[in-house]
Symmetry: D2
Subunit: 151 residues, 4 copies
């Protein structure tokens, strides 16, 4: 059970609609695996189009999916008229992102009217075993209006 | 003139070879614009395949290119047998990544035998004007051996 | 000359008043060295009360002074009724904070009505020479009301 | 039970000895509350000497204690001859650090021969209730020799 109460009963639909507008997520082959109040998971498969020089998932590609997981986790708790914007994030790479599939968890740590703080965790899946490969701290902002620009 | 003395006279060749092995950079349409001791620039064009939900460059895609710029800036100063690994990075998004082209600057702030610290700056180019849209702090590690895994 | 226009002509007085209310800055022996729109410097002397286990300035004590420098740099550009709050910061330690004196520079990189992003640089001074020992990226928030609490 | 095996059976003694050499911790009135392999807690009391301008614990003072908690958590797993050095940390402030006492948790997330990554959590205690007020991501380095300087 989620400790958070969404302000928008259509939060899941809004997340799916917004996600489908992210060209970057289609390029990653990323999909929404789980959408709940304050919690979003994104999955993607390893591909040679996403690698760094040793064939592992590129840290930046990993952070793109993890940033979206955190951003949409924050978005589930925002007001119906709000748009979500990433202000900053920090990622620690704990182990090579080596695997067949990857699962990105975005979790709200502290929701707010304007500022929401999320934690992200990236797991690599290989022959059934799951390994934590990265952690993220991410600060999101709710902005009004459809253009998604802060002032 | 660079304040840094490379330990490997073939540093530029090594950067180009490694860059060409990053599937992620080809997916971004990214190219090496500038390679000097302690300084690497990467350029890329806006594309609908790289966007977030408002059509701007996705923060994660931007961070992928900026991470590579920082990583290769560090790599130019490493020993011939070393491989480079990102340990962590932090990105602040200052303005929407809105433009026709983007330029990512990676600069070494403090080189070290094991740990190198870089600063990155991302600029959006639109109708000839350049705007700072993001800054990065990035910590890189030199590891021995070709597999690029730290212990 | 500063590129920034303060919204409050009494910005310097407000910074000095707020600084004098920070018990932490008195404990550090820190003083305001420079206050201009978007730029604040704080100086402090080495003391055995501020050290880590090798006798260098403790990274946390350094970050306390650097956080205040960044916070007050942001504060100089805020509206008269606003209070300033640190949302997050990230510090990279480039070299041991070894010296007789330290100078902390806080600079606004991107001011905003709600969110301001600053960069900080810490310098150690020893026998006349100045050395960069740390860099900070810091996100500040303007909040209304005197209690300084965000919602 | 800890998932980590210390390489030094005297790890707790080494942590206590090093902690007692940190002048900064004495200035904070901080004490070691808990020392186990990969886990260190530090406690401190509110004091007017540690405050920001609204009377809350200064974010930098909080980060000093949290940095030490993370650093010593990493130190418990290091080799007998190693010294510990903070490379970088990032802190997110979730709520005002308002309380009578504070508890800082440092936990190893990923130990390594050279690089260790820790997570920190800061709790404020007020009239018996405990509240999460800050999170930290911290990267530590093991260096050889007693002087604690990286190259």
């Amino acid at each position: 059970m989620s400790p958070f109460e969404p302000r928008n009963s259509h939060y899941a639909q809004r997340v799916h609609e917004s996600f489908s507008c992210q060209g970057a997520m289609q390029t990653l082959g990323a999909r929404l695996d789980h959408v709940a109040p304050g919690a979003v998971d994104i999955a993607l498969d390893w591909s040679p189009t996403l690698t760094q020089q040793h064939g592992f998932l590129h840290a930046g590609m990993l952070s793109a999916a993890l940033d979206s997981a955190c951003g949409y986790a924050a978005f589930t708790l925002m007001a119906p008229e709000a748009e979500v914007l990433t202000i900053e994030f920090k990622i620690n790479l704990l182990a090579p992102a080596q695997g067949e599939r990857f699962r990105m968890e975005g979790r709200v740590l502290r929701p707010g009217r304007t500022i929401t703080v999320c934690e992200g965790r990236a797991y690599a899946l290989s022959t059934g075993a799951e390994k934590l490969v990265a952690t993220m701290a991410c600060t999101l902002m709710a902005v009004a209006g459809r253009e998604g620009v802060r002032d």
